[in-house]
């Protein structure tokens, strides 16, 4: 799945946050978005996920058959971001099962268990998320984002709230994603900037 961004502009009120940005991310490549606080990293990420409607310009996802939209697109993107939360009154397993059903799949208990183990939440799957620490919540978000093996994984502040073990988990997820699909990372951490072949610097 290739990502084409053309002349993208986003204004909130009269304030221009993203100004005529264009880039292409071919399938299988990785992109790092950097920029100071307030430069529009999160806005760009939300635009890429179709969570915002751009003021001007286009974002299109294409594969061999043509442009992907709506239902076809929703199942191919995974997102981890500080503004994207799971249900605090549901357990991790319930959250993941809900998202799987939302994508029209039957939740696979075995797969969910393995996934939780992978992100370091083994044995905590049945506890409601409100009993989790912020680092554990971040781990649960990773499980939610990679549950459906997305073509494109988008990480906004990937290691926020995570300890060393958590960062290693993220690195494992990132390396795996880079092997099988595309990755977009919005970050200012020096180490994380090396995760992509391409760079977009927002000012």
């Amino acid at each position: 799945m290739d990502l084409h961004v053309e002349n993208l502009t986003q204004r909130f009120g009269f304030r221009t946050v993203i100004k005529e940005t264009s880039f292409v991310l071919p399938a299988g490549q990785s992109l790092v978005i950097t920029g100071d606080n307030g430069s529009g990293k999160t806005t760009l990420v939300r635009l890429l996920c179709n969570l915002l409607t751009p003021t001007a310009g286009t974002i299109s996802y294409r594969n061999g058959k043509g442009a992907l939209e709506g239902e076809d697109l929703r199942g191919r993107i995974g997102l981890v971001g500080p503004y994207l939360q799971l249900y605090r009154d549901l357990s991790a397993i319930e959250n993941l099962a809900f998202l799987a059903r939302g994508r029209g799949e039957k939740p696979d208990a075995q797969k969910i268990r393995e996934l939780l183990e992978k992100v370091g939440l083994k044995g905590r799957g049945k506890d409601p998320l409100k009993t989790y620490s912020s680092g554990m919540l971040q781990r649960a978000k990773y499980a939610a984002a990679i549950l459906h093996n997305p073509d494109l994984l988008i990480l906004d502040e990937p290691t926020a709230n995570l300890d060393e073990a958590g960062k290693e988990m993220v690195l494992a997820v990132v390396n795996e994603q880079r092997k099988k699909g595309s990755l977009v990372v919005a970050t200012n951490e020096a180490e994380e900037r090396t995760w992509g072949e391409q760079h977009v610097v927002l000012a």
């Binding site: 994207l84 939360q85 939302g102």
Partner: protein, 223 residues
């Protein structure tokens, strides 16, 4: 279409489960109804109300109970930042289907509480039960529909429910007037056929509002 319905049911079951764990909306609307009816019953003492006043009171209680709890399904998603997860995964109209079903069930459940309270605490005498139940069901159906669409606007506007009643009232006024009229007929012992016109109005109103809701929901729901 089928996928929309089945995904809508997924959202509905999720909301039902969340509601059973927090009981927020149920408490809000249930306690509101009980408090209001008790207050009226208490201040009236032994006085018995006429059917036209009872019918109006019945729907006023349902309306304000709805206003105290039906916006919660949408507001919770925005307050807990889970709305983006729904936007990312679910088709917009599936979300509307789920929230709509949830509010119908919630308001319908409320009526199962309110009707006995009216009979016991206010001494309401129902002349014709089938007509009464048909009016209640179709009125609740219409009320839940209007409220759900307006609730989405409210939640996305960020005004957190303060404006919910103000904005719903004018749009729900046709529902209120028709339902009060039909309920009075039912209380006075009119036949189901005597409420026929009111039922038709409520039903067509629901269909029209829901159609507009489906057409416009994506506009409301997208940020």
């Amino acid at each position: 279409m089928l996928s929309l319905l089945s995904k809508g049911l997924v959202v509905f079951r999720k909301d039902l489960r969340l509601e059973f764990r927090s009981l927020y909306a149920l408490n809000a609307i249930g306690l509101f109804a009980v408090t209001t009816i008790t207050a009226v019953s208490f201040s009236l003492g032994p006085v018995r109300l006429e059917p036209n006043i009872l019918a109006a009171l019945f729907w006023v209680v349902i309306f304000f109970s709805a206003m105290s709890g039906l916006a919660h399904v949408f507001i919770r998603e925005e307050e807990q930042d889970t709305g983006d997860m729904l936007r990312l995964v679910f088709p917009p109209n599936a979300v509307l289907v789920g929230k709509w079903l949830f509010n119908i069930v919630l308001l319908g459940g409320l009526c199962l509480l309110i009707i006995p309270l009216f009979v016991i605490m206010l001494g309401a005498e129902v002349g014709n039960w089938p007509a009464m139940l048909a009016m209640t069901a179709s009125g609740v159906f219409a009320m839940a529909t209007v409220s759900t669409v307006i609730a989405a606007i409210i939640a996305l506007s960020g005004s957190r429910g303060a404006l919910f009643a103000v904005m719903t009232f004018p749009v729900a006024l046709p529902v209120l007037m028709t339902a009060i009229h039909g309920t009075r007929v039912a209380l006075e012992g009119g036949q189901l056929a005597d409420c026929g016109n009111d039922l038709k109005v409520l039903f067509s109103f629901t269909i029209v509002i829901m159609t507009v809701g489906f057409l416009l929901f994506e506009t409301i729901w997208r940020k």
